[in-house]
């Protein structure tokens, strides 16, 4: 009797382990397959010419430099607009707001905003910034529309980061006669900084990879934007158009690979910052 139970136990254990392993392999496998597919198809394209020169000819041969510049520009501008607002909002929500209905409502609104499909955000940006405010197709219109998309994401990750700072560390500061703002600015925010930075960089990756929002707000024109009022075509948009029209698939794969590498780099930097800061503190 007892031995049969034991067999069953180890059997269920083995099955559970197998299922968990299968799930893990599926997850890693999916990522691996995509990466491999993009690498195999795109690696041949990646040359200095491809990265640093302009496209030419009807089939868009040559490089994709203007789209890289446009992508980096709009991402940087969007982060510059979003990060300060989002961090201050998160500090308010986590530290200052009286926890109650109002805060719950704000949080619910932020979550809802985060789940708005990005194509809707693109249309909204088109009607508000591009047409309504007369910004035309421009980097600034795209950055502002992206800000709407990123704001709730950064607010939530920052709020989580602030809340994760242990209460007793704050108490230590209050116990020394620190005011609330001194405690927040000198203890809480520095302690939360690695996690905040991670959240911001991951959001930057999201911005760089966004297609629907930018296609309606900065257009599809191949252009290396200098002023925020210039239009431009970002890498995801470039990729979409090339793939859609089938004019230059190899180049599309090249763009795809570069884009994936860029977002991957964002994620790795985020991880690195998180780790380095933990070490310094630990």
């Amino acid at each position: 009797m007892q031995s049969r139970e034991r067999v069953n136990k180890s059997l269920t254990n083995a099955i559970a382990l197998g299922v968990i392993w299968a799930a893990a392999i599926a997850t890693v496998g999916a990522l691996g397959t995509i990466l491999l597919y993009v690498i195999v198809n795109g690696i041949g394209q990646i040359t200095p010419t491809f990265i640093f020169t302009w496209p030419h000819g009807v089939n868009m041969e040559g490089g994709i430099w203007p789209t890289i510049q446009a992508t980096l520009y709009v991402t940087a501008l969007a982060m510059l607009i979003t990060t300060p607002i989002a961090v201050l909002a998160a500090v308010y929500l986590a530290e200052y707001a009286v926890q109650g209905r109002l805060v719950r409502t704000i949080r619910f609104a932020a979550d809802s905003l985060a789940s708005v499909p990005s194509i809707v955000m693109g249309l909204f940006g088109l009607s508000l910034f591009v047409e309504g405010l007369g910004m035309k197709f421009s980097v600034i219109a795209a950055a502002l529309a992206l800000a709407f998309l990123l704001l709730p994401i950064i607010v939530r990750t920052t709020e989580e980061a602030i809340r994760a700072v242990p209460k007793y560390i704050r108490w230590g500061s209050y116990g020394l006669g620190a005011s609330k703002w001194q405690t927040v600015s000198r203890i809480v925010l520095p302690s939360a900084l690695p996690r905040i930075t991670t959240g911001v960089i991951l959001a930057a990756g999201r911005a760089a990879g966004e297609t629907a929002v930018v296609i309606y707000t900065m257009g599809t024109m191949i252009n290396a934007p200098v002023s925020p009022l210039d239009p431009g075509r970002t890498m995801p948009v470039d990729l979409m158009l090339k793939a859609q029209e089938g004019i230059n698939l190899p180049s599309a794969y090249g763009t795809a690979l570069l884009l994936v590498l860029m977002v991957l780099a964002f994620n790795l930097v985020a991880r690195f910052i998180g780790r380095r800061n933990r070490r310094m503190q630990g």
């Binding site: 108490w171 230590g172 500061s173 209050y174 116990g175 020394l176 006669g177």
Partner: protein, 274 residues
């Protein structure tokens, strides 16, 4: 034999300055509607060590946090009655709890160094209160670490993170950090319950050294510790769950442990409950 005689003689001698640092009068404390502490009246002697003992949930830590208004940070709490510090009402109008907490420092159960260097941990308080000169800060950091008996162990690694120290060292770092703002009073909320025995010894020695200049109040779970380190002991008890806790007995430590007046104190210190 001579040791016992010495301790008896010491007990006869007057303790501290003979003056009360805190006078607590008819204090009631509420968490929302719940009356957690009722009618506490007690005086806390200046430059002496006063211990609060009692079973878990008896309100001793709550009472401790009333003394520097740390409870203000918990929403929905309320105080009735009076607490006078050097004759001034600390819950009175115009009293800034931030200033109060500078004078009444606090050490917590869990050592809580800030995630910054040892030096910066100690310099944090003085910097808050406006000390900017490097030389002055250096002096305060060294002096505070010396007073906390940590200087020898850390003088060559001041730039290292405070969290790299052992638990006991961390607790002494927290003590140094509080001493750096020169408080009159040090509140210690079970300061030894999360550190190793050797460090406990060091912290206890430290309390004996510090009380020349500072009034110390310690909450402890450990009756032996209360008996070792304190001059006065207060016994708190919540007799019925859901009812407020009260101060059962307050006496010279030697008297409370050798001849408790209240039956409940006797039951507690002889280990009949708690």
């Amino acid at each position: 034999m001579s040791e016992r005689l010495a301790s008896l003689l010491q007990d006869q001698a007057s303790v501290g300055t003979g003056r009360d640092k805190f006078e607590v009068q008819h204090l009631n404390f509420f968490y929302g509607d719940f009356n957690a502490l009722t009618d506490i009246t007690v005086g806390i002697a200046e430059h002496a060590v006063t211990a609060f003992i009692g079973p878990s949930g008896c309100g001793k830590s709550t009472f401790l946090r009333c003394l520097n208004r740390m409870n203000d940070l918990i929403p929905g709490t309320r105080v009735e009655g009076k607490i006078l510090l050097d004759g001034h009402e600390i819950y009175g109008p115009g009293v800034d709890p931030v200033d109060l907490r500078r004078r009444v420092g606090m050490i917590f159960q869990q050592p809580n160094p800030f995630p910054m260097s040892i030096y910066e941990n100690v310099a944090y308080g003085p910097k808050l209160h406006g000390v900017k000169k490097k030389a002055e800060l250096d002096g305060i950091v060294e002096e505070s670490l010396k007073r906390a008996n940590l200087w020898k162990e850390v003088k060559d690694i001041l730039g290292r993170g405070g969290l790299t120290l052992s638990g006991g060292q961390q607790q002494r770092l927290c003590i140094a950090r509080v001493l750096a703002v020169e408080p009159d009073v040090l509140l210690m909320d079970e300061p030894c319950s999360a550190i190793d025995p050797t460090s406990v010894q060091k912290v206890e020695d430290l309390m004996a050294e510090l009380k020349d200049r500072i009034t110390i109040v310690i909450v402890t779970h450990n009756m032996q510790q209360a008996a070792r380190v304190s001059d006065f002991t207060a016994f708190f008890l919540q007799e019925v769950a859901g009812q407020p806790a009260e101060l059962i007995e307050f006496e010279r430590t030697a008297a409370l442990f050798t001849s408790p007046k209240d039956r409940r104190t006797e039951d507690y210190i002889t280990g009949r409950f708690g």
